[in-house]
Structure formats: C-alpha cells, structure tokens
C-alpha cells in the first residue's frame, strides 16, 4: 500500500463516498475537467460523469445556495469553495439557511451538505488565499466545523462529514496538502465527529491545536521532551460541536495547557477553549492558560507571512512559561 498526502486523501474520500452513495455529488469552480485548483477532485469527472461532478459558474453564494436546494431534495452535495478567503459571500447561505432548515421546519427539511474550502497560510499564496477564519463558523448554531490535520484525519473526517445529516464546513489547511504522506487504508471507515483526538500522550502539560498548528504542537512536544517535559497533544479536529470532555480531562491530568491557533488572537476559537478549560478544570490548573496565536493583523503577503505564523518554537516558549509555575 502506498502513502498518500492530505489532498490525495481528500480525493480518496470523495471517490469512496461517491462510489458508496449515488446521492453524493461534488460541485464548485474548476472542480471538473481541471480536477480542482489543488487537484482534490482529480479524476472524479471521468469516473462519475458530469451529473455528479459539476463545474459551476463563478459565484460563491450560489454554490452554497444550490447545494442547499440539492440537499433539501435528498442529495448529499459536497461543494468546494476555492479558498476560504472567498467563502464570505456564502456565509448568508450557511448562517441564514443551511444551518436552520431543520430547526425552522421542525425536522421536515434538512441540509446534509459539506462545504469544503482550503484554508490557512504558509504556501506563499496570493492575497486572500491564506485565511484562518474558522472561528466565525463556530458561532453558527446548526453547523459543524471540521479541520483535518493529516491525510488519515482528512480521509476519515471527510467521510464522516459527507455521511452526517447536517451541514458541515470542512476546512483544509493548504500547507498540509502536500507536506506529509502516510498510509491511508481506503476501507470506507469514518472517524467520529464531535471528538477531539489525543495525538500524543503526556503528563506535564497539554498542547491544544487544530489544522496546520497540530504539526507545530507535535514538534514542540518533541522539543519539550528533550527538556524533560512530557507534553500531551490534542487535535481538536471537530471545532463545532466541541468535545469539551476530552480537553478538560487532559488538563485535569496535566494541570497546564497551551492553546495554539493560526487565526488572529481576538475572537479566535482558542478563547472559547480557554474559557471551557478555565471552567471545567479550574481546580486542577497549576498555571495560567497560555495561548499562541496569529496577530490581530491582516494576514501579511508572502514575504512576511512566516513572521505571522505561530511556530513550534513559540509553542515551546509558552509551554516553558507555564512550567515555571510550580
């Protein structure tokens, strides 16, 4: 069995979901003959045909709205927004419609759809192509927000998202698309949603991250190990709904935590997680909750983007700050 990278894992999960269920369709800009700008849908048009692999005109709001109509009729559309920086026109459709039909009709109608979008920085991309805007989706009731951090996670979580009966925003960090490869078994097994994943066990401190920041956290855990600190690393993976229990249990065990997010500090999802831990693990906390985040600035263009992005070294520094408290 060969190893595949994250974007290949997305492709594999899409193909698997489409083969398993003829109601699954993919649509978006340039996802047909071009196979998607990142090749996430490569080969799907040839294999599944134009009815199920549909290039759309260029209008993000409509890609969301068309998906809603399809989903209301029992299809399971998986729409691609080319970059999460272009998802904003679609938020009306997500917040006012996709997330609300089940509630508004008391279960008569629902929107089983997935909106995939590449996100986050680190690839020297153009303006608006490097956004980490996950937090705004987590404030929309009725949506699920999922961010994979590895090929295996991408495969299992995307299958879960497609099979879920409610709308899911599935954000894929572009930096991870081709960064690492690993063996992914294409057996159609989905990972659970609403679950955080313990990626490394430890006893002194908990590092909490999602998406591209999971790699930084894992690297930091290695650095800390060399300094005699045992770090647990948790991949939040499904931001909404949040698996608070796993996070709180870990910090109850370790007494310290560092939350790592690529998004700007203020209003970021790390703040929500910090509040949950402060509440749920208050009596176990040995040190203030630390956050390592992007800045409250516009994402810099490529020459300065590395300055913006949180790195393993700064995670380690924050961890050491926490370890100073006895």
């Amino acid at each position: 069995m060969s190893e595949i990278n994250l974007v290949q894992a997305v492709n594999l999960a899409l193909a698997r979901a489409m083969a398993d269920d003829e109601k699954v369709l993919v649509l978006g800009q340039d996802i047909g003959i071009n196979g998607g700008v990142f090749r996430a849908t490569d080969g799907l048009l040839k294999r599944f045909g134009e009815d199920r692999v549909r290039d759309t005109p260029l209008a993000e709001a409509m890609i969301g709205g068309i998906s809603i109509g399809l989903a209301l009729q029992g299809f399971r559309p998986v729409a691609e927004i080319q970059f999460s920086g272009f998802i904003y026109p679609c938020i009306d459709q997500l917040a006012n419609h996709a997330s609300r039909f089940r509630t508004r009709t008391r279960g008569r109608l629902s929107c089983p759809m997935v909106l995939r979008a590449p996100c986050s920085g680190g690839t020297k991309a153009l303006e608006h192509h490097s956004e980490s805007n996950e937090a705004m989706f987590t404030n929309i009731p009725g949506l699920r927000v999922v961010i994979p951090s590895s090929p295996k996670m991408a495969y299992g979580l995307l299958l879960a998202a497609i099979r879920d009966p409610d709308p899911v925003v599935f954000l894929e960090p572009t930096r991870l698309y081709r960064a690492v490869s690993e063996e992914v078994v294409d057996d159609g097994t989905a990972l659970p949603l609403d679950r955080c994943f313990v990626r490394r066990e430890g006893t002194d401190l908990t590092l909490i991250a999602w998406g591209a920041m999971v790699r930084e956290a894992l690297e930091s855990a290695q650095q800390l190990e060399a300094r005699g600190v045992s770090a647990e690393v948790i991949d939040v993976a499904t931001l909404k709904p949040l698996d608070e229990a796993t996070l709180v249990a870990s910090v109850q065990k370790t007494g310290r935590c560092v939350i790592v997010q690529e998004a700007p500090l203020s209003g970021g999802y790390g703040g929500e997680i910090a509040a949950r831990i402060a509440d749920g693990a208050f009596s176990s906390l040995l040190a203030p909750i630390q956050r390592v985040t992007g800045y409250d600035t516009v994402m810099p263009l490529s020459r300065l983007e590395q300055i913006y992005l949180p790195k393993a070294a700064s995670v380690t520094t924050a961890a050491e700050r926490a370890m100073v408290y006895a």
Partner: protein
C-alpha cells in the same frame, strides 16, 4: 482624449423586447380571449375563491396582530393574484419557494391557515406543512431563496423528473446579487424553475423607480439568457397563464423563465410599518381601483355566474374556516422548551445536550411563560 466620432459603424449584437400580458382589465372586462382552461367559469370561480380566502386570512391575521394575538405580520393585501395565479398553475409534485408575503400561494398549495397562523404567531411547527411536504418555508432574508429554487430544480433535472419549481420574490430582491446569480445559474443549466417577481412597487419605503434604472425588471432575465416577460399582476388569469406556460416549457426541458407580475402593495410593509410616512394616500387610493378581487368579481357577475347569494355564501364559508383555524392556533399550547435544542442537529451533540440539560434544570426552578 478619445475621439468618439472616429468609431466604426456598429452592428446590432443583441436585441430584446419585453411583452406585457393582460386578459382582464381593472373593470373586469376581457381585453383578450382567455386560454381554454381559464375560460371555464368553474376555474375562474375557483381562482376567485382562492383570492377571497387569502384576503380573508390576511384581514384576520392583521386583526389578530393588532390585538396582541399574532406576531409581526406581512400582509399581501392587493397583490394576492400573483401568488394565487402562480401556485394554481403548479402541480402538486412541483415545489413552491415563496418569500414572506406569499401566503396566498401557500394556501393554494395546501398549507393550512392554522399552520400559517402558527408560523406568524411564533411557532416553528407552522413550517412543518402537513400538505406540500417538499415546499420550502417562506424566506425572510430578501432573495436568497432564489438559489434554493435553482438547487431544487437541479435535483429534478438530475433525477430526470418532470417536475418544476416556482419561486416568488419582490421588486427589491431583484437588486440583489442572489437573484442575478440564480438567474445566471438557472440559465446556464436550463433548470426547470419559474422565477416570479412580484413587483408591488415598494420595498418597504423605497419605490420601484429608486430600485433600478431598468425599464422593466423582467429584462434582467435577458442578461442571463432566459426569457423574461411582464404580466398584469392584478389579473389572476394573466399570472396563471404565464406561469402555466413557463412550467410546461420547464417540464419539457425548455429551461427557466422570469415573469414580472406588476402589482401594488395596498397595505403597509408589515404590521410594524406605517406607510403614510413615505407614500401618499392619493397614490394608494388610485391603486385600489386596480386591485385583483373586484375585477374578477365583476367579470363573474357579467358572465352571469356569480350573484349576491354566491358572494355571501363564499364569505361566510371562508370566514368560518379562517375563524376556526385561528381558534385552533390559539388553542395550541406552545412547544416544550426542549424543542429549541432538539432540531439543531439530527444527532444531539454532547455539548448541546449539556446546554439543554442546563436550560431544563433552570426552567424547572423558574417557569417560563409561553
């Protein structure tokens, strides 16, 4: 400086015209022969009854709002013929995608007056239609449901079903990108959807002339490569005939249509609005001469098919139905608190279950008034 006079002679690269259809003038006189189906007086009486029923619902709803028994309500007074004409042209298996002022059409589709009262009275169960299960609930955000209509129509296309969608929105909605995008998508994919613009001349306080410099709103369809036409929106025959023809075309694979039904909003925008702040009574008074019910009644009377007794019986029956529906709504107990959580996701997440448990526990100590 550009020498404009130096440009070469141009050839015409596109050409369009927008037609306007009316059968029944404001006095109830036929100005054109009716299509066969509509010439049948039984059909005309059914349409007339639907108009009267819708207005009766409207009047009751406004009265109930004024007496604190219903929430903010958007009356469709004066423009009932648009929704009735469109919905009556549909087949049961088609899907209706209305905006928030189209209850006249929802009633024709089989949504019950009790369900409508429930919805406008603040109870989501009003959207759990017992009749047209696939019809969408009305859309409050302006124009964004045009996209859903296109998506539903795409589903019909993909399943090769001979079904079609009718969406209705107002003149204001045509200023939105959502509507332009929906026209465009539907045009490219030849989707079986009929977009009906209920041009009632007012988007709250903004008159039609300040909404768009386009001569007609129907011509916005032309830019998307789909046919657009105008009809007299106060002539239920004209609306019905145009929508019926567009639906037939859509079912046969002929694609999308846009029909601008020119009508007038005789009432306030909603019960929370006071239209006297921005439009004068003389204008409203003039439009009362063109409203849809009076002209159809005059037509039926002239045909010798409608008399005082018929009118009295219809009004009595309608009033009895609407009063009973209103009483049934008022007698319906509010939903349990738990229901605000129960439909957020199909599978209740642990995180939300905890919030629900908390809400239930706190409600147990502080009862909430319904």
């Amino acid at each position: 400086m550009i020498e404009t006079t130096a440009r070469p002679a141009r050839r015409e690269s596109a050409h369009f015209e927008i037609g306007y259809t009316r059968y029944l003038d404001p006095d109830g006189k036929l100005v054109a022969p009716l299509p066969p189906g509509l010439a049948d007086p039984v059909r005309a009486i059914a349409l007339y009854s639907a108009l009267v029923r819708a207005r009766s619902f409207d009047q009751k709803a406004v009265a109930m709002q004024r007496t604190g028994r219903l929430g903010t309500y958007a009356s469709s007074l004066g423009q009932e013929a648009v929704a009735v004409g469109a919905a009556s042209a549909m087949r049961p298996e088609d899907v209706f995608v209305p905006s928030f002022r189209e209850h006249a059409g929802q009633l024709v589709r089989g949504v019950t007056p009790r369900e409508l009262f429930l919805y406008w009275g603040g109870d989501e169960r009003g959207n759990d239609f017992s009749g047209p299960r696939e019809d969408l609930p009305n859309c409050v955000p302006i124009g964004s449901h045009a996209a859903h209509a296109a998506g539903v129509a795409l589903a019909f296309r993909l399943r090769r079903e001979p079904r079609a969608v009718v969406a209705i929105f107002g003149d204001g909605a045509t200023s939105k990108g959502d509507v332009a995008e929906a026209f465009n998508f539907a045009g490219v994919w030849k989707l079986p959807v009929v977009f009906v613009i209920s041009n009632n001349q007012w988007a709250i306080s903004v008159p039609r002339r300040n909404q768009s410099a386009a001569e007609t709103l129907a011509q916005k369809a032309i830019a998307a490569g789909i046919p657009g036409e105008q009809v007299d929106g106060n002539d239920v025959f004209a609306v019905h005939a145009a929508v019926a023809a567009a639906l037939e075309r859509a079912r046969a694979g002929g694609g999308t249509s846009v029909i601008e039904a020119v009508t007038y909003r005789l009432g306030d925008h909603t019960t929370a609005d006071d239209a006297s702040r921005y439009r004068n009574d003389a204008e409203v008074k003039a439009h009362w001469q063109e409203e849809p019910i009076k002209r159809l009644e005059a037509y039926l009377v002239a045909l010798g098919r409608w008399g005082k007794d018929d009118q009295e019986r219809l009004l009595q029956e309608t009033k009895a139905e609407i009063d009973a529906a209103s009483a049934a709504y008022l007698a319906t107990a509010p939903q349990a608190l738990a229901t605000i959580f129960d439909f957020t996701y199909a599978n209740m997440p642990a995180d939300l279950q905890r919030q629900k448990d908390g809400a239930l526990a706190s409600a147990a100590t502080t009862p909430v008034k319904g």
